[in-house]
Symmetry: C2
Subunit: 188 residues, 2 copies
DNA sequence: GACCACTTGTACCGATCGGTAAAGGCGCGT
DNA sequence: ACGCGCCTTTACCGATCGGTACAAGTGGTC
């Protein structure tokens, strides 16, 4: 255990995922974390905003170490890196109620409060994909943006239709647009 | 004026768009509609849930008359119908804070309460596009699903990056996937 | 065992939540 | 002018909101 905060973050994350930022009442947070208000305000004196910041940072760190970094691994062909990135992202959201916290926060009016972190998350993701793609940067960035948007939309659609497999099928098709550019020699 | 309800719906819609379902307090709703609580509960005895239902119905009706129906107009080539559909959708969300109410509701825990209407909205949209596309239905439905997901994701991305043009550029590229299938024989 | 820093439970705060009740205003048909 | 029905205002309800204060634990160090 590094800090008492760290143990609370998974519970905080599910609370924010299930209820959104504004909808996550302290009562719901104590339920999901198993911690009383006293403990929560001991670890996060800044209240709900600090809790949300800690969760966002943790999610951002996970993507940085598991997604962006492996996208830069030059020992593996680009198409393969992109495919494993897509798989990791699918698995991540599938086991987390099909909710991207950054996407959820971007939709609410809490967007302004966390604007920098939200924008930073998506630009980092898009940039990591862009750098793994060959060809002119402008075209690669467009493809990367389309992929990220499709993932976010597929999450919404999977929840809206109450049909989790929609995430995989949609992301798989979007991934093909990336790999067909990254691996023309590798394909077939 | 058909009913007193109708006049309140635009204000209700922006209230729900800006604050989400749970975040839209009655105080915020009175602010956006200019109506007091008494008037609101006179028009919507069922409270917030009935207000949200009325707004969702109105949005669904708009899409039905402006989007789905024009997609069925056989007098116009399919590619052109799809293009004007994309333009209408872009314009619709651009002038409404880049928020799709159904997408917003799908993300929160209010999803269960409005599950049927949410699922119905997206299936109707996907089906309308599917029927405007040639070729095997399964393939067309996949393309239609990708388009709808991309629109939803582009909305999130445009808000997340605080960059409204992202909606147009992303949707335009996604539209090309549809028209390239619909247009080769019909085009020109 | 005394001490101390950290953690926890509990009581409490003013503000706001969604919703209700009822009295008064208003326009309209007669 | 009158009565009637719809609409609006206003006051109020209990519950819950995010946040604070503080006393009582808790475990480790000498």
């Amino acid at each position: 255990m590094i800090t008492g905060r760290a143990d609370a973050i998974p519970g905080l994350a599910t609370a924010f995922r299930l209820h959104g930022y504004e909808g996550a009442s302290l009562a719901a947070i104590t339920r999901h974390t198993g911690l009383g208000k006293g403990s929560l305000y001991n670890f996060f004196p800044g209240g709900k905003e600090e809790m949300a910041n800690a969760v966002l940072d943790e999610v951002g760190l996970w993507f940085e170490t598991h997604v962006y970094r492996s996208l830069q691994n030059q020992d593996v062909p680009a198409a393969e890196r992109l495919t494993s990135m897509a798989g990791a992202v699918e698995e991540y959201f599938s086991s987390r109620h099909l909710v991207c916290l950054y996407g959820s926060f971007a939709l609410g009016q809490e967007r302004e409060r966390f604007a920098q972190q939200i924008a930073g998350y998506f630009t980092a993701w898009i940039q990591a994909i862009t750098e793994a793609l060959p060809g002119p940067a402008q075209e690669a960035e467009a493809l990367a943006t389309d992929f990220v948007a499709t993932v976010q939309g597929a999450l919404i659609l999977a929840r809206a239709l109450d049909d989790p497999p929609v995430l995989h099928s949609t992301v798989a098709r979007s991934l093909r647009h990336l790999t067909s550019l990254a691996g023309p020699d590798k394909a077939r």
